[in-house]
Amino acid sequence: MLAYFRAPLGYTVIIVFLAVSGLSFCRLLTQSATEQIQIGDILFGSAYFWLTLLLTIALISMPLFAEERNSGTLETLLTAPVTDVQVVLAKFAAAYMFILIMLAPTVLYGAFVFLLNAEGGSFSFRPIVAGYGIVLLIGAFYTAFGLLMSSLTRSMVVSAILCCVGMSATFLAENLQYAVHNSWLERVLGHISSVQHVMDFSRGIIDSQPVIFYLSGMVLFLYLAVKSIESRLWR
């Protein structure tokens, strides 16, 4: 039985984003060539990285359901012998694979740094791997969220905006943390700060708490998306 199929995306449109993200990473690299920083900061600390990542995820996940609703193809999709769960998972998988493919070239940057590391400064692989690991998890988390937002509305723009707003909750959490003086809110924000997580992980501080947060969040969003699609029966 078909459990996985590629949800059709506007491939040509996406390639543009790929180019943009590629460029931004290049700048990152050249920018940091003269500085002696930790690997994690180079790869993940730049605002460019985060911006392009968030934006791309929002833009890729927004048409997943909203477009289908708009053009009516949701009807043919859901009247084929596939379960709603399969549809949601397959769309998620397709979007996430795209994100992975987009991030893959950044590994090359790591490789370059390694090769250029002539002075024999300390270099270990594990933080990088951990850093990538958490970024992948975060990507999955955000993609699932974007999918959920897309399934809630007909309008792609609305779902993109909702997605960005939602993602900034974790993204800006670190900054907001210091703006809020309420103690419990401060701690909550500290816990969910994605940027912080990435920094920690890429320094080798691996904590199970963010992992669980992202994994469970992803599962929750996917579940809610399935429910949202199911609910059309009763509308």
Partner: protein, 341 residues
């Protein structure tokens, strides 16, 4: 559920009437904007071609969507081949092909790609899929456009692609929502011919606005109005209709009161309407012409009676004809719109 036979045999209840492929009982569908379907019930036999007729908003598309499993009924049961549409949604979907209104397609794909995608979605194995794709393409006349992008094709082709997709997994039942809407006359003819051919091997339920189409294609017609079934019968029966009438039209000049009295008294006449005829500008005649429309029983021909009455009493008669009621008139009557001339 099982039935215990009188001798203690246990019979499976699915040994039902094998003729019936769709059984709808008391189907009700409520939306937040109102009730779309109000307890309709009907059955469809295998191999039958059923037409759903009705004005916009009558509930045709809603009925088809519920049958296809896209929406759920608020009340009532819908069974296809004995299985409930919601509970065994998978089973049902494998046995039916659905073509929604306005044929939604993935515009950026090519025809072959799209059919391939749909086939894999339906769980067809590669080899069988490849054969089927070739078959449906030739059936629907799509072989020349196999590798073209869907967005570049005309609406007529879109409809055919949608049909091909619906046929791909060889379903027994086809649900078509307004298959000829938005097409030009040539395309309409092509699709209708195709549907006719399909009707020979499949059970079809199609919804349409076009009464002539329903007359042409369907064995039976269900007229829906405001969510209820207003009439259900073969087009021929519906045409000679509920009131079973024909109309005789006569243009007469004569004393109005006399004329109406005499005409009403003619055998077979059950109703009389009249309109004054518009006067030509230079018509000097003193006579006032009126146009009388008589509703008659189908087997009575009131024309002779009108002629005799007119000649005997000296009325002038300048037009006399009989009109059979068409399905359009029946439709208008049933759905409460103004009766057509």
């Amino acid at each position: 559920m099982v039935i215990m036979g009188g001798y203690g045999w246990i019979l499976p209840i699915n040994v039902k009437d094998k003729r019936i492929i769709i059984k709808v009982d008391d189907l009700t569908k409520r939306f937040s904007s109102g009730t779309a379907l109000k307890g309709i019930s009907f059955e469809v036999e295998r191999g039958e071609m059923l037409g759903l007729l009705g004005p916009n908003g009558a509930g045709k598309t809603t009925t088809l969507r519920i049958l296809a499993g896209f929406l759920a009924a608020s009340e009532g049961s819908v069974r296809i081949d004995g299985v409930d549409v919601l509970e065994h949604s998978f089973e049902v979907r494998k046995r039916l092909g659905y073509l929604p209104e306005n044929v939604p397609l993935y515009q950026e794909m090519r025809v072959d790609e799209y059919l391939n995608f749909r086939g894999r979605l339906k769980g067809m194995k590669t080899k069988r899929l490849r054969n089927r794709i070739d078959e449906v393409k030739s059936q629907c006349g799509l072989t020349e456009v196999s590798s073209r992008i869907i967005a570049h094709l005309s609406r007529g082709y879109h409809q055919r692609i949608g049909l091909a997709d619906a046929l791909l997994h060889e379903p027994e039942l086809l649900l078509l929502d307004e298959p000829t809407i938005g097409l030009d006359p040539n395309q309409i003819r092509a699709i209708r011919d195709l549907v006719k051919v399909l009707g020979q091997k499949h059970t079809l339920v199609l919804s349409t606005h076009f009464l002539s189409e329903a007359e042409m294609l369907c064995d039976r017609v269900l007229i829906l109005n405001h969510g209820k079934i207003a009439a259900s019968d073969s087009p021929a029966v519906l045409t000679s209709l509920m009131k079973n009438k024909t109309m005789v039209v006569a243009e007469l000049a004569g004393p109005h009161a006399d004329v109406t009295a005499v005409l009403r008294a003619l055998p077979g006449v059950t109703g009389l309407f009249w309109n004054p005829c518009p006067k030509a500008k230079d018509d000097q005649a003193a006579q006032e012409w009126n146009r009388y429309v008589m509703e008659c029983d189908a087997d009575a021909d009131a024309r002779c009676g009108v002629f005799e009455a007119a000649s005997r009493r000296g009325w002038s008669l300048r037009e006399l004809k009989q009109e059979r009621k068409k399905l359009e008139d029946a439709f208008a009557e049933i759905t409460g719109s103004a009766p057509m001339d």
